[in-house]
């Protein structure tokens, strides 16, 4: 009954491969279809909306505007207060429908009809008289405050804070060298394969919502707050969710308009985003860092100072508030640098709203600090990893309090570095690339190190029930949506209870079934949700021992348990199934335990290496991607590797292909013809290793988390590999072929 540490097959695959999966658009509920009239302007005032022709369209039931639905709202989505301090922010809560649209695509009216085709017809017949207003679509321009996204705020700056530690002036005065640094991440689109969707049914004072979300319990809270419905009367059900990557942890205007329409009409209403609608629902990243670093000639990093600028898009989403507050804290990364001064500024622009995306602030911070390390290595003519080793926090300093007060829990970065260099064949690969380049091939090797903050608390819920037939139902507040953590959780419980994994069913994502929950994000699930059910399992097992003792007419101390059998010292046994049945037949019936486990962050880390090859045309390809990670205890190596693969592919996308392009009018490119999500042709070969003797977290599972690792560090490693190949500096993602080509020409001349 050993499951932990083994590549156990995913327990819920069958329905997915057989076509029996059920995403929100697959839910068979008799419901009206919703569609949206969207602003063609980046900023406008609405003079009037005439929908009389739309209403005459066959099959159309209703058209609502902001004037109809917004007064129904008692609040509106603001930042995620569990993690974001609203005092730091200037923002205006979002409405159901815009009365002053603030980005191209901002919904201004909802059309409801009996099928999607008539709704599409009617949308074309809604006449909106707009007065175009000045718009600001670039974050650098937003800083000048010439054009305001929100007149009522009097500024475009949503957030500004100084993050200061140590003595920055002294550090720069005493430095041997001061080196300018820049790091820029362009705007991305998370773009999970399942476009978001919602079905809302309001009936007799109760609201049921089927919702493609990562956070059903927070959704219940939000809808209760916004619509004044008692939360006990709201049921949010998360069906199968076709990927999210952080982008489905926020509430859109469309979601609110659908719920409001359902309440107003007393009918079920459904909306499934088209790909274009999905693409404007959630953008990501878009940040720049400009500053300088102070170094000693021996490579010691003594100070970092600079300005961080972050785009918010037109609205403060539930999750974007995380980035400007967390990026600076993680800029020191795994290094000992103590003197830091960063001004973090986040601005509104008339562009689609930005949300968190896989890694959420750690990819940005890692890109900044790893660009710093690589740039310093170049300027001091040192080896990339030798420079990093010089600056890594030492094992005897652990737990290490970083300059901004984060406590790095466990690890030995230096000895890990030695292990990783060996496994990834760093020296060999460097020599290989040099030789190949001499032969005329444009190849490059790049590495980057990361330290991640993961497994965010403050708590997670877990419940274990053993029924009268001996079946085990595990209920978790985590909300797996592709990662396979349901399987990981089943492994943890099967190992703890020493039962066959086929006895276990893992349940999540229904607020009427799961007592409470935070959800799956931030690489937290196997650590905090897994530990909650592990503890609940042990509590249930304790009770089963007591029942077994009763059956054996013995003291509980005389009974031991192993692999489905409760055994008395004298050799008499009772089986798991018999104990389960007895537990519901005698006194004190029932075998359940629930745990609301509090927990705090932990810090996994790793070294990744990318091998790139560049064609004469400047087109770069990542040929190979190698990863070595200390993620604490590994519950399922196959699932963990799969997270590395997927994250690395998104890292390749960010580094080379993906760029959400917005034209001067604020129009975002909204199809896969304009936004290049990597296909199989662009996929590298992945090799993934985990530390042989990992440093565990304080969580009962000993895990640290792996869901985001490769997208956190991947872009920095790939950009470094391009630099190695071309011999020119690149400070941004993505690096398109034309820029590489230009650099190749510059270098030749």
């Amino acid at each position: 009954m050993n499951y932990v540490g083994k590549p156990v097959k995913r327990i819920n695959d069958k329905k997915f491969v057989a076509g029996k999966s059920q995403y929100v658009d697959d839910i068979q509920v008799s419901a009206l279809h919703a569609g949206f009239v969207r602003s063609p302007y980046a900023h406008a005032r609405i003079r009037s909306i005439d929908f009389s022709d739309a209403l005459k369209t066959k099959g159309i039931v209703a058209v609502f505007t902001g004037k109809d639905l917004n007064p129904m709202l008692k609040g509106g989505p603001g930042p995620w207060v569990t993690y974001i301090d609203t005092k730091d922010w200037r923002y205006v809560p979002r409405n159901a429908l815009a009365e002053e649209p603030r980005y191209v695509g901002d919904p201004v009216a909802i059309v409801l009809g009996i099928d999607r085709y008539s709704v599409a017809d009617a949308i074309d017949k809604v006449n909106v008289d707009y007065e175009e207003l000045p718009a600001v679509t670039k974050m650098e321009d937003a800083l000048s405050e010439k054009v305001l996204v929100y007149k009522e705020l009097g500024t475009n700056v949503g957030y500004r804070k100084n993050f200061t530690s140590g003595n920055i002036e002294e550090a720069f005065k005493g430095a041997d060298k001061v080196i300018p640094v820049e790091a820029f991440n362009t705007r991305l689109i998370p773009s999970p394969m399942e476009p978001r969707g919602i079905v809302a049914r309001y009936e007799g004072g109760s609201l049921t919502v089927w919702y493609s979300t990562q956070i059903p319990h927070f959704a219940r809270e939000e809808f209760s707050k916004d619509f004044g419905i008692p939360s006990s009367r709201i049921r949010v059900i998360m069906p199968d969710v076709g990927g999210a990557f952080g982008s489905k942890a926020h509430f859109t205007s469309e979601d609110l308009a659908v719920v409001a329409s359902s309440i107003k009409l007393g009918r079920a209403v459904r909306w499934t985003a088209t790909r274009s609608e999905e693409m404007i629902s959630s953008n990501a990243r878009h940040n720049s860092f400009k500053g300088e670093v102070a170094v000693k000639n021996d490579g010691t990093l003594v100070g970092i100072r600079g300005d961080l600028l972050i785009d918010l898009g037109a609205y403060l989403t539930y999750t974007e508030g995380l980035q400007p507050a967390i990026i600076p804290l993680m800029v020191p990364g795994p290094y000992r640098v103590k003197n830091i001064h960063i001004t973090s500024t986040a601005v509104y622009t008339n562009t689609p709203p930005i949300t968190m995306y896989r890694g959420a602030s750690r990819p940005e911070a890692t890109f900044i600090i790893e660009r710093i390390m690589s740039t310093v290595a170049d300027e001091l003519h040192m080896d990339d990893l030798e420079l990093r080793e010089k600056n890594l926090v030492r094992a005897d300093e652990m737990p290490y309090k970083n300059p901004f007060g984060l406590t790095y829990d466990t690890g030995d970065y230096l000895s890990f570095m030695r292990e990783a260099k060996e496994k990834l064949k760093y020296q060999e690969m460097k020599r290989w690339a040099e030789e190949e380049r001499r032969k005329g091939r444009l190849v490059g090797i790049g590495t980057a190190f990361y330290l991640e903050i993961s497994a965010f608390g403050p708590w997670e819920y877990g419940e274990v029930r053993v029924d009268e037939m001996g079946g085990v139902t595990v209920i978790t507040g985590g909300t797996p949506h592709g990662q396979g953590t349901d399987t990981g959780i089943a492994q943890v419980v099967a190992e703890e209870l020493q039962v066959d994994i086929s006895k276990i069913n893992v349940v999540w994502g229904d607020t009427q079934v799961v007592a409470s929950g935070m959800g799956t994000y931030g690489s937290r699930t196997i650590s905090i949700a897994g530990s909650a059910v592990k503890i609940a399992s042990s509590q249930v097992l304790e009770k089963m021992k007591r029942v077994a003792a009763r059956m054996l007419k013995a003291d509980v101390e005389e009974v031991s348990y192993s692999s489905g059998e409760f055994t008395h010292r004298d050799g008499r046994k009772v089986s798991w199934d018999d104990v389960a049945r007895e537990a519901y037949a005698g006194k004190d019936p029932g075998l359940y335990s629930s745990v609301t486990l509090e927990g705090d962050v932990t810090f996994p880390y790793g070294l990744h290496l990318a091998v790139v090859e560049i064609e004469d045309t400047g087109i770069a390809k990542v040929k190979e991607y190698r990863a070595c990670d200390d993620i604490g205890k590994v519950i399922n190596p196959a699932l963990a590797e799969a997270q590395i693969h997927g994250g690395a592919m998104q890292g390749v996308g960010q580094a080379l292909y993906e760029e959400a392009k917005i034209d001067e009018n604020g129009q975002l490119g909204v199809s896969y013809a304009e936004y290049f999500v990597p296909t199989m042709v662009e996929s590298p070969t992945y090799v993934s290793y985990f530390a042989e003797n990992p440093f565990q977290s304080k969580y009962a599972t000993g895990t640290k988390g792996v869901g985001e690792a490769a997208l956190i560090v991947g872009p920095a490693a790939i950009v470094r590999a391009i630099e190695d190949a071309v011999g020119k500096r690149f400070n941004k993602t993505p690096i398109p072929p034309e820029e590489i080509y230009k650099a190749m020409l510059d270098r030749k001349s």
């Binding site: 999966s21 995403y23 399942e194 996929s683």
Partner: protein, 158 residues
């Protein structure tokens, strides 16, 4: 000619069963299939880029978001629900065995395209698999395990 609002009779065989339906001439095949309950076929991008809607039409793989239901009249359609023959098809088994899916949304289209690929080329190399599958996008897996799964399934002789 069909007048606006008029419906057209479409006769198709889906997974071996005949259906006769009156449909609007502009209705897309993917919506036609999904409205009949074949929700294994997904809509991912609406623009024939992602391949989540891939089905077989008279044995050839098509992206059903870019085919009209009326174009399928008189033809035979196989969807993800129809390849298993009561049990999982070797491709379906191989996807599961090789961790070739995560969120699962692209999986039906991925498997249908792989099914079509293996019919045309029963022993593809890795490069041939990549070439034959690049019209199907997966955002989760990074593709390596999908290539592995298809390769493994290609070695199973029914």
């Amino acid at each position: 000619m069909v007048n606006p609002g008029e419906k057209v009779k479409v006769r198709v065989k889906i997974n071996g069963v005949e259906y006769e339906e009156n449909v609007s001439p502009r209705k897309l095949l993917v919506h036609f299939l999904r409205d009949l309950g074949f929700t294994g076929t997904k809509v991912g991008c609406d623009t024939s880029t992602c391949g989540a809607c891939t089905v077989l039409l008279n044995g050839k793989s098509v992206k059903s978001c870019t085919v009209l239901a009326v174009q399928a009249d008189g033809k035979e359609i196989i969807t993800i629900e129809g390849i298993g023959d009561g049990k999982l098809h070797p491709l379906q088994e191989a996807f599961s065995d090789n961790f070739a899916l995560q969120c699962g949304f692209c999986t039906p289209g991925m498997i249908m395209q792989a099914y079509s690929l293996l019919k045309e080329n029963p022993t593809p190399s890795d490069e041939e698999i990549k070439d034959g599958m690049h019209g199907n996008i997966c955002r989760c897996t990074g593709y390596q395990n999908i290539v592995k799964a298809i390769k493994e399934a290609s070695k199973v002789r029914p």
